[in-house]
Symmetry: C2
Subunit: 364 residues, 2 copies
């Protein structure tokens, strides 16, 4: 204790001296080091998700000059896949990387922070987080849990999932046992399905053994990493249930607040940068995986679009489900309203820019 006080004092004096020195003269300041633990909901096989959690730690290490070290653990190494929220809330972990809709049972609003059926695409979500009220509402929802959330990356527009039998009409959802989380899962339940919430690492076994009839995960690359292309023949698109899925890097509030401001900003902006890096990695790897599905696995996997009538019926159910879920708490209602208002305001501009260009390229 005595020595520490000495160091701080010495540092203070030397900073003052440095401030009067020339630009290239060194300042000398006191710099505490921090060691954090971050657990994820991902198995190591999920190289994009787990790999980018590790990259997050590496980027923070690099930018902080080694003053904040984050040790990253896969699902089950420290806590189970779905135990990360509680562990971080209680301060057992300083950080976790997961997806907010897994915590719908704790707070219904969480579902909107990950993705909304028939909602905004990845870019739309980002604009809502940063320029709508997305991050503000997310912070409000997590405050009672002593957690500070930051949006991580989007997975891109997801695939609709793997089905052992074809979906021809909305009636085919009756009795269907499907792994699908969040608001999308509640839509499938409203259509008569039985919904289960299985961690990524356990989907293959459940689908392969027939415990479930269908499952969504992310897209070609991730799904193949889990072996899902060897469990069910029909691979549907587009992912109406998760068109703008976004993960989270979340910090224990006490640990976050204890950091000096430069390290807090490094955490914040690293999460922001991950959007570009991880989102981009998904595209780069999905290009390759989709190519494999269409060649190497051509006889085993049929890639099919959902029938238009099924989409129409699910969209109608989604509107009802979103309203029911929004009624569950005051913050869920605020989040639902903020999301819908922002999506409606963005639409006309999207139509004239991205959509108009997309149509031009597809049609020409």
């Amino acid at each position: 204790m005595e020595r520490r006080r000495f160091l701080v004092k010495a540092g203070g004096v030397l900073v003052a001296a440095g401030a009067t020195a020339a630009i290239d003269a060194p300042n000398v300041i006191a710099q505490p080091k921090y060691q954090w633990r971050m657990a994820t909901s991902w198995t190591p096989a999920l190289d994009v998700l787990q790999g980018n959690a590790q990259r997050f730690g590496k980027m923070v290490d690099e930018m902080s000059g080694g003053r904040l070290k984050i040790q990253v653990f896969a699902a089950g190494e420290l806590v189970p896949a779905f135990g990360v929220f509680d562990a971080c809330s209680q301060g057992t972990l300083e950080a976790y990387n997961s997806a907010a809709y897994y915590w719908a049972g704790k707070e219904a609003a969480c579902q909107w922070f990950t993705g909304v059926p028939f909602g905004m695409n990845p870019k739309g979500h980002y604009v809502w987080y940063y320029y709508g009220d997305g991050i503000k509402l997310w912070e409000e929802a997590y405050k009672p849990f002593n957690l500070v959330p930051r949006p991580s990356a989007s997975t891109g527009v997801q695939m609709g999932g793997w089905f052992r039998k074809k979906i021809n009409t909305i009636a085919d959802y009756k009795g269907l046992k499907m792994r699908i989380p969040g608001l999308g899962g509640k839509v499938v339940a409203a259509a008569g399905g039985t919904v289960v919430l299985t961690p990524g690492g356990e989907i293959y076994t459940a689908l392969e053994r027939g415990v479930i009839d269908a499952s969504e995960w992310v897209g070609p690359h991730d799904d193949m990493k889990l072996g899902l292309h060897q469990t069910a023949k029909y691979y549907y698109y587009p992912g109406w249930h998760e068109p703008g899925t976004t993960g989270e890097f979340t910090f224990n509030k006490k640990a976050y607040d204890a950091l000096p401001v430069d390290l807090r900003r490094i955490l914040d902006y690293t999460a922001t940068a991950m959007h570009t890096l991880e989102f981009g990695e998904y595209d780069a790897k999905n290009i390759v995986a989709l190519g494999k599905l269409r060649t190497e696995f051509k006889s085993k996997v049929e890639i099919v679009p959902f029938p238009a009538d099924v989409m129409k019926a699910l969209k109608k159910l989604a509107g009802q489900v979103n309203q029911e879920e929004a009624a569950k708490s005051a913050i869920a209602k605020k989040t639902h309203d903020s999301y819908n208002k922002f999506a409606a305001s963005l639409h006309p501009w999207d139509v004239m820019s991205e959509a108009a260009y997309q149509n031009l390229i597809s049609g020409a």
Copy 2:
């Protein structure tokens, strides 16, 4: 000199002491401070572009704990809008924020790093930069100029620009005097137009006085900031000439290499984070500006899509122009080939994810 040596030595001693202390005990290390100057090609009225150059400086300041200060200058304050490349190359500036296609006269390859007519959308560009060879090729192209480029933000799919007369057929480009840079400008020239390269801050006067007949800039928000909605009646979309426009934060190589590695990474990742922040800000502000054009300026401005036949003709010319420009240098050829190969590989996945979802939402 005597004092400086003392500081370094004192720092060294204290670091060694800190290394044996507990995690929360402070380390004390010698930390030089750096003061940089960054000039942009933007006028202060362009609040997104100039504002995000300033935000870049602020983020770097915050994350570096004040060790790297970047003073940001608008076009003309230190050097003219189009003088930033040379000034940074010569070491007069440590950094600049601009767009690479302005330097097409120095190296033809530069045009691809900003945007390509009928090319990839903003996300596609990003995936190419980070997971194709985009950044690698850009670094190679800038190496002879002692510059280190980093992609900054996308402006989003741009608008097609402001025209004093309607464009009904491709023949209407004959004799048209238009402000349009990069490959898009060469396409307009190939269609018979006369192309000029005017800095943003000078477009209003040129268009208002009839020195030019048409001009593109960015999109509703930026264009209105320049007053372009008060110069020409017809506002065309989509921006076929710049569907994925991306700016640049570029550093003088000697200044960049002289930084410690943590500050270099802070610069790199701040540029990456800007993609999300600045790109998002464009959307958020274009929503508002488009609304104004459609209400307040409804009688003065007509927002119109380009005719399909004109798009087809310009697309054909774009293919020829891209090849001609690619033939101008070895690095231009490599960049052209890399870009086209990546765009072709991304297309099938885009069709199944973003495009399929866009169609679903538009049609439902």
